[in-house]
Amino acid sequence: MDNYEAVIGLEVHVELHTKTKAFCSCPNEFGKEPNTNVCPICLGLPGVLPVINEALLEYAVKAGLALNCEIAAFSKFDRKNYYYPDLPKNYQISQYDLPLCRNGYLDIEVNGATRRVGITRVHMEEDAGKLVHGEGGADYSLVDLNRAGVPLLEIVSEPDIRTPEEAKAYLEKLKSILSYIDVSDCKMEEGSLRCDANISVRPAGTGILNPKTEIKNMNSFRAVQRALEAEIKRQCAVWAAGGTVESETRAWDENKGTTVPMRSKEEASDYRYFPDPDLVPIVISPDRVSRIKSELPELPDARARRFTSEYGLSAYDAGVLTASRALADFYEACARNYRDPKLVSNWVTGEFLRLVNARNLEIRDVKLTPAHLVEMLELIDKGTISGKIAKTVFEEMFDTGKRAEDIIKEKGLVQISDEGELSRIVEEVVTANPGVVADYRNGKEKAFAFLVGQVMKATRGKANPQLVNRLLKERI
């Protein structure tokens, strides 16, 4: 496998979270009762006239600009014809030869190196409905058309990706950018972001293009990575055994950990694309493009660069903090109000993210506010609590949304900085451990740490560490 390299291109579909559908005014909502978010237009009843949602166009231009694309001055919709029960009109409104956006790119970081992945095109289309297949051997399927007509962007990458790791990094960056510009929820579990992969392998460095397979049915970024790893292995084995890889569609089977054949790829011409006569062409003025461009927020890469220069963070920490806009906003709200932005970064990338993951939360649902974190850091500075106790306080703040001061009072966590009280405890510890004290006097540094630990234990971690150090040193 070492002498082969993979050629990978990804095709991503994202649902846009506009208020209404792409071509009719039905609500665009996930999880409603089946067939209640429908109207004659998205049901494909005769005699209706679809009209494009202006928000769809704005979101699509926004996404195109954020992905460094050229925005077509002239664009149109086409009908992609095929029969499937989830497609009520027997055609999908899509864009064929004149997509809205072309020739973009995004940069990914893998193993410390930056790589640029080209984006061939970004086009607008509508989603299909949802099929529920009958249980067991039932000979029917059920159709829910709530999703029919929901606006989608199809984002097609160039075959610039070389490893499964890069594929995952590409998806993470894409998700990050689309979340920043607030056009999609990008939740793979809910199907608002879906990914298919085209992949072939070739002897490394040859530049030839071998037949490719298309991989479907990958339900997480991790699944994409694993499916590509398995498919590279499979294709390499076929070539190594003197065989030929068939151009086909395959499905990722999570349980088997391998890809399995699906159906032979239909020829593009079978879709019989033609311009949709119901929808008029789209002409986007340079003014409109620059207006939308001026409304773009600071994007992840730019923000990460600013975090390193403005707050003195490492490129790695800045990358972690800016991957999600909500996280970057949280961090920045703290960093602006505290003397040491690096310390804030340690808390946010450390304890904060640990708890977000452990509690399986979205950052926007976290009860802890930036102001509360800053208050806690100031309490450490004042010596009210120790850094160690702060972790307990932080977790309590995170889970309850209470202020540090209240938690410290309720739980009696105030740091013991009273010299008299600490001297008494130091005395007890020293008396109880004569052997260790002797070790220390004979030059064993570790013995000292043990004694500090005993004092901490006796005070349940509340002793002021600097004071304990000083008192112990003085005593022995």
């Binding site: 209404t20 005014s25 089946p34 399927s141 159709v143």
Partner: protein
Amino acid sequence: MKLSKKEVEHVALLARLALSEEEKERFRAQLSSVLEYADIINRLDTEKVAPTYHVLPIQNVERPDKEHETLPLEETLQNAPQRDGNYFRVPRII
């Protein structure tokens, strides 16, 4: 351009039409004459003619992103040959 019987069958399949042998022959002739006429048009020099993507001289018809009433469930399902609760029921396809 003369169509083969196989091509007629392919087009019929794409349109989900079941044709008798007699119909296949009849449509083969009719579709061939349509294509022959298209061939005549194809001979025109259109070098300097802009492509017609739409027959109406209209562009940029957009609607605001505002919700409207949806269809009541009973109306949505009233023409369904088969229903199952809130769903349309169709022959199994996988």
